[in-house]
Amino acid sequence: MAMIECRQLSKTYRKGASIIKPLDSLDLDVEQGSFLALMGPSGSGKTTLLNLIAGIDQPTSGSLTIAGQNIAALSRSKLASWRAKHVGYVFQLYNLVPVLTAYENVELPMLLHPLSRKQRHERVGTALSLVGLADRHDHYPRQLSGGQEQRVAIARAIVTDPQIIVADEPTGDLDKPSAHAVMSLLVRLNQELGKTLIMVTHDAATAEHAGLTLHLDKGQLVEQSVTAAFSGETATTHADEGGDA
């Protein structure tokens, strides 16, 4: 059974008089431990798909089953609890809370879990060490570079040990060295810790870090490509255009 199963997944919303359909009857299976890149032009539905998988948006129709649970049927409050347990989100603009230190930012999602202060302290320390910023724990976001901020954001995304990490243009706001460092980190999370990683990107070079790249257009899957460095099937599409990958 796949880690993520999308069946006839659609999202529509009204904008003025017209109806927009950013995602149109998408079928997709993602195996546990996959690293998936989503590409496509603006408005193709890649961020919508990412947000649906992350549980911060809900589909208009279809089912979205993650680790055996149909999250499309969850209420808003249950979905919030589900997110806290199962998903880590990495944003393009890092989205760190400016009034909290690096340590406190990473600790923030931990406060949603019944852990002691000591347990939180240990796990935050581990996460910051993993991203190479243990010595910056008391720095505020404004005292960090963009690359460092993104690494803190990654530490925040993994500190609760979620099954899935979603990343929306994680290197979109970084210079090349920082982008490389961040991607190396994400690859490590996938390969060494076995995290299922789904990443939206416009950059083909960034997408090459993923095992499989799915191309979307007008809310539908139009193409998929397996990175040469990776072997084995990681995702299966059920869209009309696609076959088994």
């Binding site: 947000n51 409050s77 989100y89 989205n95 909290l100 999602p109």
Partner: protein, 388 residues
């Protein structure tokens, strides 16, 4: 439900010192205003209610129950009451029966000078100190019967708009071109008497060219109000009415209800302005954090947790303002004398008043934060994450 750390709310206040200052100053103004209004109403009520003793009955002219100053009764009523009604309170054979003249008279501070204002005068005999136990001498002596001497209450200077020195013992006041020497000062805290000028009964009768008196105040001992009422009804020739002193001042308090309402309405209107200003500030503060709110939700924080955090933030600013406002009110408002037709009273900034001010300040914090917080959370998370 897991809450956001309190530190988050507290530190958010420091994001914009200007915005924080506006919030705190707004809260200070509303709290000072609320305390002023409440201190005014409580001060006036305390002054009027405290003026009446529960065991005192006022005998005054029939038809003048609403104003002692308009009342005119025979001077002999005092002795007739004393002789007829058994069981009145007495000490050393002297019944607690006080014939009094109440009059508002123009006062000058120099001969032939323009009057500086009207003071509330009470013509009394020594019995007045028995029936009005709230009054105690704090300086000097009591006036001699028939002499042009007077006593001034602690707030008489405030009533006349004079400095306290000007009404010190030994100074003179001119009434109808007659000099009266201040021979003593008395205190009658929290009563209208505190702003009065007391003169010997015969002196004020001469001064006002009247033979009668305004009223007789008596203290019930074993006697009951019914006994006094029976006397009034049996002596219709005297054209008297009897009223409990507390009831008389309650009526006066009710008479000033429109004034109190005006004070409240003014405070409410200005407070509403303060609230709108606070709302505007909070809208701006929260609106600038829409993406952050989206991020917190994406981490798993519920909308309620975020609203509570915003509420904490707003309450913290409001509470700071409330405490500052209370301290300012205590320092600047407490005891300030307010003149009114019955004399003067002091603004009462005590624990209930401060409590009221702080409650209003905190209420402002709640009302000022909930609508902006809900508006901030109105956007779907995915939309909020796109916000600039």
């Amino acid at each position: 439900m897991r809450r956001l750390p309190f530190d988050y709310a507290a530190r958010n206040l420091g994001r914009s010192p200007l915005r924080l200052s506006i919030s705190v100053v707004g809260s200070v103004l509303v709290v000072v205003l609320a305390i002023s209004a409440y201190a005014f109403v409580r001060g006036m009520d305390r002054s009027l209610v405290g003026s009446g003793s529960p065991n005192n009955v006022i005998l005054l002219g029939a038809g003048s129950e609403e104003s002692i100053e308009r009342s005119e009764i025979s001077t002999s009523v005092a002795s007739q009451v004393q002789a007829t009604i058994p069981g009145l309170k007495s000490q050393a054979g002297q019944a607690y029966v006080s014939p009094e003249v109440h009059a508002a008279l123009a006062v000058s501070i120099e001969k032939d000078a323009e009057p500086i204002g009207q003071a509330v005068f009470r013509g009394v005999t020594p019995a007045a100190f028995s029936v009005h136990p709230q009054v105690r001498m704090i300086e000097g002596r009591t006036p001699q019967t028939g002499a042009d001497e007077l006593l001034v209450g602690q707030l008489a200077s405030a009533r006349l708009g004079l400095s306290g020195d000007r009404l010190a013992v030994g100074q003179q006041l001119w009434i109808d071109d007659r000099p009266f020497t201040i021979v003593g000062r008395f205190a009658a805290p929290n009563t209208v008497m505190n702003a009065e000028v007391w003169v010997p009964l015969t002196s004020i009768q001469t001064l006002t060219r009247r033979e009668g008196i305004s009223c007789v105040v008596l203290t019930l001992g074993d006697a009951e109000f019914a006994d006094v009422d029976l006397f009034v009804k049996s002596r219709v020739d005297l054209e008297l009415a009897a009223i409990m002193e507390t009831e008389y001042y309650d009526q006066l308090s009710a008479f000033y209800q429109p004034v109190k309402m005006m004070v409240w309405i003014t405070a409410l209107l200005i407070g509403a302005g303060g609230l709108l200003g606070g709302l505007n500030t909070m809208y701006a503060a929260f609106a600038s954090r829409i993406r952050e709110v989206g991020t917190l939700q994406s981490l798993g924080y519920s909308r309620r947790a975020i609203v509570i955090s915003f509420l904490q933030e707003s309450l913290l600013a409001a509470a700071t303002g409330a405490v500052l406002g209370s301290l300012i009110s205590l320092a600047l408002l407490d005891g300030i004398s307010i003149r009114f037709s019955m004399g003067a009273f002091g603004l009462l900034v005590d624990a209930p008043t401060i409590g009221f001010g702080i409650a209003i300040g905190l209420l402002l914090g709640v009302i000022g934060s909930i609508p902006p917080a809900l508006r901030c959370l109105r956007l779907p998370i995915a939309e909020a994450l796109k916000a600039n």
